[in-house]
Subunit: 203 residues, 2 copies
């Protein structure tokens, strides 16, 4: 609503700013509740209490509990997983996927996988675009490797990311096999170098 303040605003108007502040507070509270109480304990009510806002504000902003948690985790995971740019595709991928393997062992990482595996109401669409964006973030490293001539020109960047991350996700969520410290590096070596023997003396 227009205020009677005669000065032109130099910063966003109070309501807008309050909206942005509420958004950050709710997302931060979501991650906090998730870390302390796990996925099952992360209800809209618990998050609203932790953020000091009304439940209705949370529903108005995010619609469902699932959308709220997915958005909170998306922000957190992207911050925790910057895309490296060392100039070498192998180093970039190893650094990135070692971080992912560690993240998958945390409450937030596990919650992200579990939430994505749950299937209900409004979630499927958000989930699909969420993972498409994450795949694209990873593919950037592969694409740079192709441009530098480190990888074959017909490399499918998304497929490289899926082969490496899929094995990590599967251990974390499905098979329960341990996420060994060297697993990410071994996967990167396999997917970049392949299992076929070198035709001549390729190391």
């Amino acid at each position: 609503m227009a205020s009677s303040d005669p000065n032109p605003p130099l910063s966003p108007p109070p309501l807008r700013r309050r909206g942005a502040r509420m958004r950050s507070a709710v997302l931060a509270a979501t991650v906090r509740v998730l870390t302390e109480h796990g996925l099952a304990g992360t209800t809209v009510g618990a998050v609203a209490r932790a953020a000091g806002v009304h439940e209705t504000s949370v529903y108005r902003g995010w619609g469902t509990r699932e959308n709220l948690i997915l958005e909170a985790l998306a922000e957190q995971v992207d911050t925790a997983m910057p895309v490296p740019d060392t100039g070498h595709v192998r180093d970039d991928l190893v650094a990135y996927f070692v971080t992912l393997a560690r993240l998958l062992a945390t409450t937030q990482g596990e919650a992200l996988l579990r939430l994505s595996a749950e299937r209900d109401d409004t979630l499927p669409d958000r989930r699909l675009s969420y993972w498409a964006e994450r795949l694209e973030r990873g593919a950037v490293m592969v694409r740079r490797g192709v441009e530098r001539g480190e990888l074959a020109p017909d490399t499918d960047p998304g497929l490289v990311i899926e082969a490496i991350s899929g094995a990590l996700f599967t251990r974390a969520l499905i098979s329960g096999a341990p996420l060994d410290e060297d697993l990410a590096a071994r996967l990167v070596t396999l997917v970049l170098g392949g299992a076929c023997p070198p035709p001549s003396g390729r190391s």
Copy 2:
């Protein structure tokens, strides 16, 4: 218990035979109920009714609903996914993983993944050994490729299987991306050949 029948038994004694017959009937009923009613509808009660046995017999034989479903699906999936042996590692892997990709799109395949992702009481241990056995089944194809000299001697057979299957599992359970008809073949090509460019004229 010893019977008073004077003839030596030519087939397993009645009680044993009845046990084996009950086991098959219950496992078949489990798959049937799962296909018709999905994972949530597959209760011990529903399976017992479909198999015409008492619920207590099911609990006595399998302990939990999760163990029952995992065993039923294990038998079904192994039957649906014979391990090919064409003499060529690439052909074996493509055939095997095309079948897996198709299976993951069925009610049973999805139930198997979902059940493995659920974590409770007695399940984790069974799940770990279940997936370790499945991984070993697949690794046999890779090991034969190494023995024939098609793959490098230091190839990690399990890792090859995890890189290919992990991408398929992730699409089916986590990202929701489609399991395209050619996805399995593209993954096999990537993991066997690698993304690095051929040093000379390797095609």
